[in-house]
Subunit: 270 residues, 2 copies
């Protein structure tokens, strides 16, 4: 049984609490938050506190707090030589105060208050300063059904950057699609199967192979008509930049030189 | 039983052929393509031809050919007053020659040669010139497990534009994530659960509500570090533009005016 003290009450903390609570080999022995009211509703199932001095002994202290609070919270812990982990994608492990044994337990997933997360197969990026702690972190990941990966701080920061493209920016494209639908009296629901299939497709083929559409085909006529169709200047700028990016990836950044090549492109159009 | 003659041999045609073949109430009576060799492998299961003069009678002629070929092919059909449909997201219904009864049967999905498509719940955008043909198109959609939607040419063109954002551009963001992983010796596989969850999440909540991350929080420190991290100038431009777009959507386009507001943002950070 792995005993855990959880620190923080945001989305990551709440989802981790739920996952740890369900796990047979994990016991959340205490939940700390600087604002007691945020975790008060859990008081009947777990010991809660808003006082760092009251923290009890545990195998690991998981800090799921905002990036800016991590270093300071680690300094304020009233004990030494225990195992602490932060859960951030971007904060360096060495920002944690070395009076304790330090580590990182970063779940690579998107967490919202409103959406339940199945932790099954969520990748957990693990980093440890003291090698002997790796196994406990791996066991903790396994206990909630996750795959763990040995990842350096630099790699984790790259993953976090990639995640901004794959999650935040992708979601903003969904938002733009939503806006286009709304301004044309269309239910956004009609786009949902396409969104899901787009994500499913690259589970098996590379994004390079999965690409389709006017930019990939260098279909100037459709691109021109689309740009004429777009009323929002910001949407237009995004259309132009991502179209150029796709063209570059698929080697249409240079002008076509032969009509033969042009025909080949037309033939693969649908 | 609905009898279908299919015209074209690209991704859409091939996927439609497979779906129609499986449907109990649809019979593909003939498959036309200008290049016989492209459909020759199906010759043992369906009548094939590369000669328009040989086209046989059917309830509907489905033209799944490139956008540029639709008008001309409809002119070249050697019969009149039969029901023809094109399957394009962007070509106007009225580009079809009106010597026949004209319609549109546009499956809103991404089709690749390499990926099998489950047509179940794929939205089919239906447009008819002669009202009495609507039911047949609806029945055809239903026969392959699809939902049909009455959509005007203008709406369909908006859907097609939205699809470029939601499918092609999203896929390019996946590609950029892939490049970031590769240049940091990371397996792209680690990002796949996040990609899938990002798409799944907006099946139930709006993209506005689903948004998270540094741009939404106006987390200048993380944004600055990310921009420093990105080596590729094109990736940097995309990062900046989409970050600005998210900020605008979430009303951080203006400078913050009170420290109270700043604190509120910090508190919701994780």
């Amino acid at each position: 049984m792995i005993s855990v003290v959880l620190l923080g009450a945001g989305n990551v903390a709440t989802h981790l609490y739920k996952a740890f609570s369900k796990a047979e080999t994990v016991s959340v022995v205490q939940w700390y938050n600087r604002t007691r009211s945020s975790i008060l509703s859990y008081a009947n199932e777990v010991e809660i506190t808003d006082n760092l001095e009251e923290l009890i002994e545990a195998d690991i202290y998981i800090m799921a707090v905002s990036d800016d609070s991590i270093a300071k919270l680690s300094q304020n812990l009233p004990f030494t030589n225990r195992l602490i982990a932060h859960t951030s994608g971007s904060v360096a492990m060495h920002d944690l105060d070395k009076k304790n044994q330090i580590s990182v337990f970063y779940p690579l997933q998107t967490f919202s208050k409103d959406a339940d997360i199945d932790f099954y197969e969520v990748p957990i990026c693990i980093e440890v300063y003291q090698k002997e702690n790796r196994q406990l972190l791996k066991d903790l990941a396994k206990a909630i059904g996750c795959k763990s990966h040995k990842i350096s701080t630099e790699q984790r920061q790259s993953i976090h950057l990639a995640a901004v493209f794959l999650n935040n920016f992708t979601n903003q494209l969904y938002r733009i699609g939503h806006e286009i639908c709304e301004s044309n009296n269309l239910e956004f629901d009609i786009m949902k199967p396409l969104i899901l299939e787009t994500a499913k497709k690259i589970q098996n083929v590379s994004p390079y192979v999965a690409q389709t559409g006017p930019a990939k085909r260098n279909d100037k006529k459709t691109i021109k008509r689309h740009l004429k169709q777009i009323e929002n200047e910001e949407h237009k700028a995004i259309y132009e930049l991502l179209t150029a990016s796709i063209k570059k990836t698929h080697k249409y950044n240079l002008p076509l030189t032969s009509s033969k090549k042009k025909n080949e492109i037309d033939n693969e159009r649908r």
